[in-house]
Amino acid sequence: MSSGETILRLEKLTKHFPVTRGIIFQREIATLKAVDDVSFEIKAGQTLGLVGESGCGKSTLARCIVRLLDPTSGRIEFEGEDISRLSGKALRSVRRDLVMIFQDPMSSLNPRMRVSEIIGEPLEVYRAGTSATRRARVMELLELVGLNSEHFNRFPHEFSGGQRQRIGIARALALSPKLIVCDEPVSALDVSVQAQIINLLEDLQAEFGLTYLFIAHDLDIVRRVSDEVHVMYLGRVVERGTDEDLYEAPHHPYSAALLSARPVPDPDRAQNRTHIVLEGDVPSPLDLPSGCRFRTRCPRAQPVCSEVEPELDGPAGIHEWACHYPLETWPLASPEDIRRPGSAVGVTEVGP
């Protein structure tokens, strides 16, 4: 696949979890809408960043894409083929090219297996090569991710968090995949180790032309690695754009609030910037607000927001947002600037 072609396209991907009751015969009592109508595409060799707070459906989306979960509806086109309904052999052959790196390097490695078995597992599953070539490949992968061959026979508990994440990356790379879904690959690590892992992922991308779907809640890391960023809120993409557009001129009040909350490594700038603090909690995905999902916490909400759900709008493929009353200016001079007259929701003032 040459660079620039679409490798993954999601079309109205939806994942609802039924909440059931009953011992043997279960009946559905509610529906948890974890991912609702998400569409996007990733071009080969690029990185798409996905941000959002805990519980917004990022991980569910990732698990649907690698088919650890079965989507409720919608299409997942991988290299032009809809894989959302595949199973058995057909799914297995897709899995060689589409892998995932997990968030928690402690629990994503089987504590009873040696490093050689963990990294060699995909090779064994697909019966790739002889045991000697598999062994050689594991050695090569260890060096590729910055570990060395004497780690071959160790157990996961003998490694630090960063080293374990490297083992997870080596396992993902074993069969030379095309797309890697990174589900918060660095959020369980120290800041200094985060940088090493990010560098490793970038080096690997440059070397092997990998495509990443990079999920995180750290806006700065996502900006650093991504060509395009999507912001999710309660199962929907509320704003998307190239990193420059989105970070320098957010249009959705939610993106603006997220951006204003990120730590600034400069005391002078940190003092002067405006800090938008949203009120209330994220509504339950079991009982979503009518209209715009963000309206219960939005300082710009108007009556229409509770009636009509906004669709993504704006320059298609460049910068789109799903809001009836998008922001026009950024940065804001004061937190009150985000407010629109008539909105019932306020903004908490935070002193410097």
Binding site: L68, F102, S176
Partner: protein, 332 residues
């Protein structure tokens, strides 16, 4: 597999054994760690020693038989005192005139009910107890593993059906059923084993199911699925190895339970037929007419052996549980 061209060819020296520099502590597998801990547990080691002795005692049964010249299933008239009609006590008949070990000498005494030599009976009884304990435990654990894995990993309807089945078995009056089976069928070693296994699998199965339920949600299982591993492979490589510890511990405890249960059934007269030696029946033979008041050894020898055997398997089980505990201290 064809390697992508982008990957560098593998340097040859990677395959050669390389000099490992600096500190490189030998890597220990879970079993090596377990053995290190078990070695420091004196009670568990004593249990292991006792269990080895017991197996040797059981294995040596034919030797005792030929040495004493008291075949296991023939009555020895010499076993009772001619005047009192009481059984001879320990060392009875061993007066030093007769050759020791020949015909009239009963080292651990004899039973006047069956006329059997106690020593020979005890060692054949050990065979029965160990056989029933080990075989019924093997069946129990195998059934429990299958049920636990099936219920825990598949979840949903299958889990519901198996879990309710476990509840039903748990609610069943175990002893009454065992008595009923032994009156309907002519009981032998296998019916006793069947009854024990049929009513003990639910307990370890519940343990395994709970364990599998939590293992199934661990990310390394998702990772294996994501990599395309089949369900049998996941069960074998990722789930089962985590159950081995619990299985070993449970098996050890379960052997003790099965031995005690067989003894209880035989004591009540619903266990093994009279031609199969059993510690439980040996104890029961001392009861009628208050025989144990005149010949307490009839109860003391099999009773002590039974208690020690159950204790040894239980202490070994406890020792194994501590040794396999991942949070345990290596250098305790």
């Amino acid at each position: 597999m064809s390697m992508p061209p982008a990957m560098s060819p593998i340097p040859v020296d990677v395959l050669a054994p390389r000099e490992v520099g600096g500190h490189s502590a030998p890597t220990r597998g879970p079993w090596a760690l377990m053995w290190r801990r078990l070695r420091r547990d004196k009670a568990a080691l004593a249990s292991v020693a006792f269990i080895i002795l017991l197996f040797s005692f059981a294995a040596a049964a034919p030797l005792f038989e030929s040495w004493t010249n008291h075949p296991q299933n023939t009555s020895n008239v010499a076993g009772s005192d001619d005047v009192t009609l009481l059984p001879v006590g320990p060392l009875g008949g061993c007066d030093g005139v007769t050759d020791v070990g020949k015909d009239t000498c009963f080292i651990l005494g004899a039973s006047n009910v069956s006329g059997h030599d106690m020593l020979v009976q005890l060692s054949y009884g050990a065979r029965t107890s160990l056989f029933i304990g080990v075989v019924s435990t093997a069946i129990t654990v195998a059934v429990a593993l299958v049920m636990g894995l099936l219920a825990g990993y598949s979840g949903g309807f299958t889990d519901g059906v198996i879990s309710r089945l476990m509840d039903v078995v748990a609610a069943f009056p175990f002893l009454l059923f065992a008595i009923a089976v032994s009156t309907v069928f002519r009981s032998n070693v296998w019916t006793v084993i069947f009854v024990i296994a049929a009513f003990s699998w639910f307990y370890p199965a519940r343990l395994f199911r709970a364990e599998v339920l939590s293992l199934r949600e661990r990310e390394f299982v998702s990772a294996a699925r994501m990599l395309g591993a089949s369900t049998p492979r996941i069960l074998r490589k990722h789930i089962f190895p985590h159950l081995v510890g619990a299985t070993v511990v449970y098996a050890s405890l379960s052997i003790a339970g099965a031995i005690l249960f067989e003894a209880a059934l035989s004591y009540l007269g619903f266990g093994l037929p009279a031609d199969i030696p059993s510690w439980g029946r040996m104890i029961s033979q001392a009861v009628p007419g208050g025989l144990y008041r005149n010949a307490p050894y009839l109860m003391i020898f099999p009773g002590t052996l039974l208690v020690l055997t159950a204790l040894a398997f239980n202490m070994l089980g406890d020792g194994l549980r501590d040794a396999l505990d991942p949070k345990g201290n290596v250098d305790r």
